[in-house]
Symmetry: C2
Subunit: 235 residues, 2 copies
Amino acid sequence: MSAEITETYDVSKYERPSVTVDVVIFSILDKMLKALLIKRKVWPYKDVWAIPGGFVRMDESLEQAAYRELAEETGVAGADVYLEQLFTFGEPDRDPRTRVITVAYFALVSADKINPQAATDAADIEWFSVYDLPSLAFDHADILDYALTRLRYKLEYSAVGFQLLPEKFTLRELQDTYEIVLGTKLDKGNFRSKLRKTNVVEMVDGYRDTGGRPARLYRFRDDAVAEIKTRRLFP
Amino acid sequence: MSAEITETYDVSKYERPSVTVDVVIFSILDKMLKALLIKRKVWPYKDVWAIPGGFVRMDESLEQAAYRELAEETGVAGADVYLEQLFTFGEPDRDPRTRVITVAYFALVSADKINPQAATDAADIEWFSVYDLPSLAFDHADILDYALTRLRYKLEYSAVGFQLLPEKFTLRELQDTYEIVLGTKLDKGNFRSKLRKTNVVEMVDGYRDTGGRPARLYRFRDDAVAEIKTRRLFP
DNA sequence: ACAAAAGTGTTGAGAGTACACCCATGC
DNA sequence: GCATGGGTGTACTCTCAACACTTTTGT
């Protein structure tokens, strides 16, 4: 068993960095795309806003760590969110304390799923519009930027947008969500005709009262093919 | 300075995982898409093929570590390759020695750039067709699978494919590369007409002799817009 | 002349886009 | 009735995809 001992020694001879998981949590609130931030209470960047995150424990996977952080900050369970690994940030000097490598995730949460208690029981946790962000700790501005780019990109060819809505929604609400995230106006007729063709939503009983004619309620079909073939650069 | 001391203590109280960088290196050799693998010489998975990689040093970024591994195995400098972060794999039990989190990258190298010495000076480093892989150490089969999926996907909407070719190439060679990677036949006329429209290549002097009419040589325009707008799921 | 591979053009089907129009409800 | 927002249809344009055709070399 000398080989094993030698190798174990070999692994531990390298100094190890700290590894954290940060989760950019998006939701639609007040008709705006918002991200959840927490105010740091310790050095460094004391009293500066930051993306929620924490150290990865030795016995949990990265995804488990991300779900844990998510639940701690929002009270939302794993089944009710969309979570995706974003990128791993590891510049040697991104944290002044020690070498910290952070695996960033982004999450989409429907506003009605958020536990109000978890989100409001402190003044040091707050939803910010992505267009009106405070200055952020570490390289968190880069991380949030990248998350936003990825979200918009993803919205174009997949159906992740539904994760930002409650289970039942009107088509107008769906279109609003897309317009808010993408930052562009969409054509009502085309939006709906494409929805009919792609077959990703189905009508459910009930109506929502609006200023005019009541709107039908829909829900996302979980058996739906949520991805579209991308346009090829070359045929 | 007690805050600093407290926080430093706080950081180090967590046990730290090891962090490695693994690089899936792709190239086109003998008209096949191949990946470079090395045979492990130590426990665990002794004498089993694995994706090249190594520990991240405390003073280098993740990307620097990836470039370093790449240069060590192929002798190729950073400017001559396409390198992209793929995904971070961190299941607690993926390495039997200790907790190891690996940041996976994938690289595209043109066959003519590869240093033959670096690639052939040992029997324990070898190019394998991605369709005829040996069994791999750790979760490296998953990593390679994911790298291949991402490469194909990326090829559809960006111009990374050029990184697999020498500086000058014929349009037939370019089309061959695409067909090899995607695993499908493409239409010659459509392939070329789209190339003309997208304006990503330009003719250079010289011809390549073939079995029939000699083919013009082209090169990639570095000022070209290498990405195409994806088709939207919703308008 | 013929084979082989380079290189271009044509055409019908389907997707994208802009816009006009009808429908159901509250006041 | 009329304002408001839901919901549908149409017509023009552009891209996609299949395939036929012409051009230039070697033997």
